[in-house]
Amino acid sequence: MMRLGKRRSARFYIAGLLALSVLSSGGTALAQSGDNDHGNGRDETVWHSLKKAYFGDREITDGDDVLSLDAPYRAEDPAVVPITITDKLGGTNNRRIDKLWLVIDNNPDPMSAVVEMGPAAENATLSTRVRVNSYTYMRVIAESSEGDLYMVKRFVKASGGCSAPVGRDPEKALEHMGEMRLREVRADQGDGERTQLMIRHPNITGLQMDQLTRLVYPAHFVNAITVMKGDKRVFDSQMTFSLSENPSIQFNVREGAPGNLTARVHDNKDNVFEQNWPMPASQTSVSDNKKTSS
């Protein structure tokens, strides 16, 4: 599958399984934190298990000088929580961020995304949208080019009412599955622009209470995205259904990197969607690139 190579993706999934088994043995703690909406969920138990599974004994230091994580304290819509990871090293060649892990402690599969930046990335600044199942810590671990690990975290409260961390119109998302768009968007801070890749996909969690409907809705979600600029990688990534319906990722392409921009998207049912845009993307309007799948 794709450019990631089988070996690396296999390792990712083994790690994913590990995380799940860790979770089921620590299920009581998870259930308790999920049930209590009043400030609990600030429990480090899940993270300690994940840390061991993913990073072993490696030291992880406070990352405030290296990166920041912008996430709302109150998630207005738990199905679509916009987050931004800002690379404070700025992609300089001496010392840069090479890899990011996004962990949402109290989600069903906490290891939500792993992103490896490539030479066609300007920096490791990324925005995306995630689901939040309950009050939870959200954390990003960054690996520097020197092999050091840094972490930042934010506490997020999912708001109540009738909202739930599921898509509003899964049928429509399925009908258009695989459509992609590329846009240039404004960054929230500063005057900068970013490239936004949008992917139509229901990203169904598969964690519904199927016994209620006697119908089976297995998990169906995007699990890998690779973005290339010409023959150079912008990033490789793997993810779970923690990403919202119709996944969206914003990133910075290295200025002057030659060639077209290509996105390859893989889901857990082995569907592969691929699309190619002439760049610079700022000249690519939304309406220009519907269904130009290669």
Partner: protein, 318 residues
């Protein structure tokens, strides 16, 4: 004109009833100085006004308008409230009004404040009816909803609270309550993807479920374009004499009572389209779009940003 009859005696019966959870419910009611009551809005059509508030321990999830229609043969219940206690209270209200059995429980959509009283009505001879996508919608959210009910209502919400329909409506369905026909209509994705309205031909009463919010800010959990399309279609209807919204007071000022909601949703759609044209982010839109409505709507800050988020993630694909 709106006919109003209050059933005070009935309320007393309810307040002293010993149904499970009933004690807490009557405490809740007592705190508002008012027990569970139903009002007749037209001959044989009864409604209970839910509180214009978020669900909490005091109101027991009694925040949506619920009610029933009485035919010569049997009764159709329309939504059952936000917890089994509310459902039981409604059931008592029905028993105090008519000896006829409940043959249908109709759910206008899958939100917990409208359906978590269902279990109070589950017995042989009662058919549960909902729109086509109700079951998937509720199943996908059930875990979240039950967790939330445990923490917000402090009740042991279990899977028994979830009652799935025996019959679903793809487009329309007519039910006969005995010399009284009610017409059910399933809508394209609007407030949710399983909105169902109920029309009582005899009195011209239209139950809109959450296709209509009055005073309380609308909550978008479906499609903004779909919802606007549906209310615009409804706006053209001339056979409606009384309208019962999912939240807020019923009325006969049809179709003008739709206008504030249409204006609000239109503002959001326009504001989000502008934000998208300018390349603004989802976060920016949540913080800037259509804030003028804050003075006009109850619970604005609890729902508005989420409504914008829902509109943004839909309209960015247009």
């Amino acid at each position: 004109m709106r006919i109003k009859q209050f059933y005070g005696a009935l309320s007393l019966v309810l307040a002293s009833s010993a149904i499970a959870g009933g004690a807490q419910l009557s405490h809740a009611a007592a705190s508002d100085n008012e027990a569970f009551s139903v009002v007749s809005i037209a001959p044989g059509v009864f409604y209970h006004a839910g509180a214009q508030a978020e669900a909490n321990k005091l109101n027991h999830g009694d925040i949506a308008n619920i009610g029933f229609i009485v035919g010569e043969r049997c009764v159709a219940v329309i939504d059952t409230g936000g917890s089994p206690a509310v459902g039981h209270a409604l059931q008592k209200a029905i028993l105090g009004t008519t000896a006829k059995p409940v043959c249908y429980v109709i759910n206008t959509h899958m939100h917990p404040d409208h359906v978590f009283g269902n279990s109070a009505f589950k017995r042989p001879g009662t058919t549960f009816v909902a729109a086509e996508h109700y079951s998937e919608g509720l199943a996908a959210r059930a875990r979240t909803y039950l967790d939330r009910m445990r923490s917000v209502l402090d009740l042991p919400a279990s899977i028994d609270w979830i009652v799935m329909p025996d019959e679903t409506v793809e487009e329309t369905l007519e039910l006969d309550l005995g010399n009284r026909k009610i017409r059910l209509h399933a809508w394209p994705t609007s407030h949710t993807n399983n909105d169902l309205t109920v029309f009582d031909e005899k009195t011209g009463t239209l139950w809109l479920g959450d296709l209509l919010f009055v005073d309380r800010v609308p909550a978008l959990d479906g499609s903004i374009t779909g919802w606007l399309g549906s209310v615009e279609r409804l706006h053209d209807r001339t056979d409606v004499r009384y309208a019962v919204p999912g939240h807020g007071p019923p009325g006969s000022d049809w179709p003008r009572m739709l206008d504030p909601e249409i204006a609000y949703l239109t503002d959001i759609r326009g504001g989000v389209e502008n934000a998208l044209d300018e390349g603004r982010s989802l976060k920016w839109a949540e913080q800037h779009v259509a804030l003028d409505g804050r003075e006009d709507w109850l619970l604005f800050d609890d729902y508005h940003a989420r409504n914008v988020s829902g509109a943004y993630t839909e309209l960015e694909w247009q």
